[in-house]
């Protein structure tokens, strides 16, 4: 569906060195990135600011031309066959609106119908589906400028999906939203994915988005891919500690010597293990040697996992 092979992209940066003189420097935004996304996948594409996320999405959607490497989206070169590519993809920029500010959503959708040459019957069916799924009737008669952020984002989604694209790019779709609205947008994305079987690629800084909706996560840092896999594997791979709390039957449990950060509080003992470093057997050993009343394992916050990953590549 989406194929990138050895894609690189640099920007020219003018650096002032004097009153009139300036030096041109090349800043590498994306370096030798290869990846492949199959039909119907939901992929979270994450990385710190300036890591090359947006650059990659812009190359995939035909806005930018890569310096090196090739990109195929549905078998089409997104830059040179921009118009053809435009029919296959829907794009939502979380920080920009494509809706007509002073008019109702219906007006924008109607204009898009004309731009994409959507046949009447198809448009009617699609529109009624989107109205139901995205609960558009709630604000159907209001101009966009009167909508809340959550409502507007539903409108943006409708505009990005009205031409039934097979791929949806979302650039920070939940930015600036409160927890409840974020949650509803996530649910909607999942619902649309189920209904349409659409391929979704989303960038975000909120890892909750990725955890909740993505089956696969790709991490980019300093222009290079540093992880590609499931969220569970991401956790495993990163050397972050999990905290284990066990309530033992006795006040003097038998503990292996290698346990780290042990804190005792009567029958309650807290320690840390690191799965990535093969410490899981230690936990098993601790449990098998004692009578255990209760056990709680708290995973490292996913932010820590990601931070480790980002920093790992930078070194």
């Amino acid at each position: 569906m989406i194929e990138l092979s050895h894609v690189s992209k640099s920007y020219k940066i003018q650096k002032k060195t004097g009153w009139f003189r300036s030096e041109t420097q090349m800043k590498c935004a994306v370096k030798d990135v290869s990846l492949s996304i199959g039909r119907g996948e939901i992929v979270g594409y994450i990385g710190p600011n300036g890591s090359g996320k947006s650059t990659t999405i812009k190359m995939m959607s035909g806005i930018l031309l890569p310096d090196e490497g090739t990109i195929r989206v549905n078998g089409v070169d997104p830059f040179y066959q921009r118009k053809q590519n435009g029919r296959n993809i829907g794009v939502l920029f979380g920080q920009r609106s494509q809706l007509w500010w002073h008019l109702k959503l219906e007006d924008t959708l109607n204009l898009l119908r004309h731009m994409y040459d959507i046949p009447d019957a198809q448009y009617a069916a699609r529109l009624s589906m989107l109205r139901k799924t995205l609960s558009l009737d709630e604000f159907w008669g209001q101009p966009i400028r009167q909508l809340s952020l959550g409502q507007r984002m539903r409108g943006e989604l409708a505009a990005a999906l009205i031409h039934s694209p097979s791929i949806l790019y979302l650039d920070e779709p939940t930015i600036g939203m409160d927890v409840i609205v974020k949650e509803s947008i996530r649910d909607l994305l999942k619902l649309i994915h189920q209904r349409d079987g659409i391929t979704i690629l989303l960038t975000t800084h909120d890892l909750e988005d990725v955890e909740r909706i993505c089956s696969r996560v790709i991490v980019i840092s300093h222009g290079q891919l540093c992880f590609d896999g499931s969220m569970a594997r991401l956790r495993e791979q990163c050397a972050s500690d999990s905290t284990v709390t066990i309530l033992f039957a006795s006040e003097t449990p038998e503990l292996p010597d290698q346990l780290r950060n042990v804190k005792k509080e009567g029958k309650r003992v807290t320690f840390t293990i690191n799965r990535a470093m093969g410490e899981s057997p230690l936990l098993a050993e601790t449990i098998s040697r004692n009578i255990v009343r209760d056990i709680a394992i708290s995973e490292p916050p996913v932010e820590n996992v990601i931070r480790d990953l980002y920093e790992g590549v930078g070194q």
Binding site: G50, S61, I63, L64, R82, N85, R96, L111, D117, P143
Partner: protein, 269 residues
Amino acid sequence: MKRLKWFFKLCSMSLSMCWRGYISYMGWSALVHGIGLMIGYLGEYVVLYTMIRNFNTLGGFSGLEVCFLYALGLTTYALGNVHTRKFWRMDELVLRGRLDMYLVRPVSPLLQLFTEDLQVGYLSHLILGVGSMLLVKHMTGLTWSAVQWLLFVYALLAGGMLMGGISLLLTPLSFWWGESGAVTWLVRHDVRYAIRYPVTIYPKLLRGLLLVLPYAFVNYYPCLYLLNKSDSPFAAGYVLLTLPVGILVNIVFVLFWRVGLKRYSSAGG
């Protein structure tokens, strides 16, 4: 043919949306704004007319004739800039990456930019401009042949095309400089003040400039013919020349835009 029908449908949809957006946003103040603009421009006529009455004539033009010249400039400006608003803030598009949105749709980005912000408020310019030209014609007792009427309409449309082209011509500079507002403002707006007077009053160098940035074709040459100021048998040719010059300027703009768009690297993130 189908493509042409599609194009006109797009234009009419956009026009309707821009109009409704304008009314919804401005409400009754749209009317007040329109009337206010007209009063402002009427003031300009009074100043021009009074000034030239003191000189008797200016570059061979009487006070009323200069008003006609001015009105032709105003009308073609309004006609020609109906679709150029998005380009006045090219820095928004280029530096902030707002252009991205137009590049992911299966329609030419230029066409989208042209139709997204049509200046329906220019209706007041048109009413005033055409109205005052007809008034001057009546007051000076000018009589037009059928051909002259035809060429009057032609001069408005072709002049509009030329004015629009001139407004757009330098905007792709933004792709290199990021900001081009100052230069394009100068070309679009300030030079417009120069062509309210007959170009013959200017020193040669300046006159040359008004020919190079082909402002003289917008109103001066058409006026020579429409006001019967020229004895030349080729006077009608001056008017006819406006269209080819207009087309040329627009073609140069489109080519310049295409080169710029290739450079467009959008706002990184």
